[in-house]
Amino acid sequence: MLETLGNLGLGFSVALSPSILLYAFLGCLVGTLVGVLPGVGPLAGISLLLPATFGLDATRAIVMLAGIYYGAMYGGSTTSILMRIPGEAASVMTCIDGYAMARQGRGGAALAIAAVGSYVAGTVSVVGLMLLAPPLATFALRFGPPEYVALLLLGLFVLAYMSSGSMLKSLAMAAFGLLLGMVGIDQMSGYFRFAYGVVELGDGLGVVPVAVGLFGVAEILSTAGQGTPPQVVKPRLRELLPSRTEWRESAAPIGRGTVLGFLIGILPGSAHIISSFVSYAVEKRLSRHPERFGHGAVAGVAGPESANNSATSGAMVPMLALGVPSGPIPAVMLAAMMVHGVSPGPLLIQQQPALFWGFVASMYVGNVVLLILNLPLVGLFVNILRVPYPYLYPAILVFSMLGVYAVNGSVVDVWIMLIMGVLGWVLRKLDFETAPVVLGLVLAPMIELSLRQSLAMSDGHYGIFVQRPIAAALLGVALLLVILNLLAFVRRRLDWRARLALAEKGEETS
């Protein structure tokens, strides 16, 4: 413990040196802007700016890249809340309740809660990173394909809590999302599936263009289709801050989101994307008022936003402790270290204490910087809502197209976004929710790949899922959930979801 404190002292002496501080600030600022730009998420941001760090030394480069990473996670919530455009894939859930809050004039409150939640999550998870990195990283590596399958199947249960209306409709949407996830090169055989000769479709449909299309573009289209334009929400200054009740309602979700996000973030692979989905489901399950979700529940913003920020620190654990490129973003950061002659590996913490502890300390500093940067910006960003729709919406459309194009420099992605926009508009007209589509699209390729990898590992024997303790335990939990839900269904027939659907129908007919 004493040693850790000493090391942290070393870290802060590095992190608080003016030049490092400057790059941490720059990273946070750039990250926030990257996150605010629709479609451009942390991966795209880091990738695009990686070459700019080649002139710096290793510590500065890594501090700045990390700043961009968690800055983008902060910034991602802004457009989700204000315009229903997910800034990056992990902000999809924030679009639902965050935007609903903004429509009720609580946009400022939602932004503030997202910022504070992100701050708490960021800071607490850095403590986790600092104290638990080596043992946790070794444990996380035991998460192989079979464990992933079990976790993702558990993730499918999230669906049950995602809809606020008809269960049948959201399952249909999820199935549609899973089908969309089938597009692209078959990772196991090399076949192109549903690519129709378009080379770009070989990589499948990107989550970002689909999410921006289904949420953002669809929102713009449906607003444009209304006979009378919706009232412009004019936020007043005293409404910017969350009320006492809102704070109270978001405290527990922030705590749970932090822990959940960190644990999911550690796992190698792209599990961090599902952290916000899982957090949303957990909050809805635990909430005393699940019916408020989808209509501006504070917990629906606080939980997922904390989870996705906490997951970023979690993802750093295997990277720093073991030199393992545990996901696309850590892989880019490892490359940045290699460019500077730092070979990332299990010996990094011993060989480069100034880099490791400086990095950890800079994450504390960076989170404070982001809070200071973001809270005043709430007032500024909320004013975007004052812009009349005829000017605002074309601008958003342009920025969405720019952002989606910039990620891969691919026109195909822009078309995907536009087609999904039209589709999303049709689905909204028919009263389908689109979040399950995105979840399906995220989960399908991951489940498929890890399922087939597991079977390749075991030479086709399904026994591999019960022979491995972690996988077996996770599958056991999943089975238990099914049984519990079935029991509840048999016993009560109508749970709150059905009651809610009935109530809504009643509203419509009356």
């Binding site: 090169i185 770009e200 590996g345």
Partner: protein
């Protein structure tokens, strides 16, 4: 008077040249783009950037790197293959350039591009892959590994960067050369493939040396043998498969610079000259040192021969793998 002829000619040329030069010889007169068909941080990108920086100095003309990614590199390579052959759009390709068209052929697909759509400029680096296993695994030498694989066909598993990917092809060439059968577990990229062996989910991996060196030094992984013609400089005690009697197991992860076929010869000559000067720059050497990737410069006929031999070997490898489901 006859002796004066050359002089007159020279004078005439000197008068004429300024008028002709801007149209023909003023290459380069605008920024050059090097397309890296893989995302930032990958081998192609990390090689392209110092190449671009040094060429910029040599040519005194801006050289930019653009990442055009997608479909395992096919998107970027197709882009360069079909760009205007004027020397302003170049490609930094890896070994996979000769694998993709062959895989397309196997599936009777319209190929995204063909290898002969490119004019090779220079080979920058060529790192042999090395065979690694976990430190606690029973195999101490490549011989033991191969012997065991012969006894238990299809039981020893390995991860790769993806089907028909470079790391997969290396293992296939070895399997064929040594007459063994291993179990292939494809992953989505070299990073996940490394994570899989470190986590104990597969038994072996063929990998570029730079990526696994820190893990070998930390005692997590053990190197058994290399696919190179000679031993890897950083691992002098690790033999090559050639030494062990499997000369067909030869494979390199290489990076080379290409222009679209049809680029005028003077432009190609200028580019060859510029690349030769660029790789000699101390900054370039320092950059490659940091990546622990030795420079293996080849150009002209020498590169063409290397490229042709490599393409032939890989094409044969892909054909041997064939369509995956046909084997079952």
């Amino acid at each position: 008077m006859r002796a004066r002829r050359p002089l007159v000619l020279a004078l005439a040329l000197a008068v004429l040249l300024p008028g002709v030069a801007p149209a023909q010889e003023a290459y380069p007169s605008r920024p050059i783009t090097i397309v890296a068909p893989f995302p930032p941080g990958g081998v192609a990108d990390l090689t392209a950037r110092p190449v671009a920086a040094s060429m910029e100095k040599v040519l005194k003309n801006p050289v930019a790197v653009v990442n055009k990614t997608g479909a395992a590199g096919a998107v970027g390579m197709q882009f360069v293959a079909t760009s205007k052959p004027d020397g302003y759009t170049l490609l930094l390709a890896l070994s996979s350039i000769s694998i993709i068209p062959e895989a397309d052929r196997i599936f009777d697909r319209q190929p995204a591009y063909t290898v002969d759509q490119f004019a090779p400029i220079a080979l920058i680096s060529a790192d042999p892959t090395i065979l690694v296993v976990r430190a606690e695994s029973p195999w101490k030498t490549a011989r033991e590994f191969i012997e065991d694989a012969k006894k238990r066909p299809g039981q020893i598993s390995y991860s790769s960067s993806g089907i028909y990917g470079t790391l997969h092809m290396a293992m296939e060439l070895l399997s064929h050369a040594a007459g063994i059968k291993l179990r292939h577990v494809p992953h989505a990229g070299a990073g996940p493939a490394l994570t899989a062996i470190l986590g104990g989910h597969v038994d072996a991996l063929a990998s570029g040396p730079a990526v696994v060196l820190p893990q070998i030094k930390a005692g997590k992984l053990r190197a058994l043998a290399g696919w190179g013609d000679t031993r890897v400089a950083a691992l002098p005690e690790v033999p090559t498969f050639k030494e062990l009697g499997h000369p067909e197991a030869e494979f390199y992860i290489w990076a080379g610079l290409f222009a679209p076929r049809g680029t005028p010869e003077p432009v190609l000559a200028r580019l060859r000259e510029a690349t030769r000067a660029a790789v000699g720059e101390p900054e370039f050497k320092a950059a490659m040192d940091k990546l622990e990737t030795p420079i293996a410069f080849k150009q002209g006929d020498e590169f063409q021969r290397f490229f042709d031999a490599d393409a032939k070997r890989l094409a044969a490898g892909v054909r041997k793998v064939g369509r995956v489901e046909e084997k079952k």
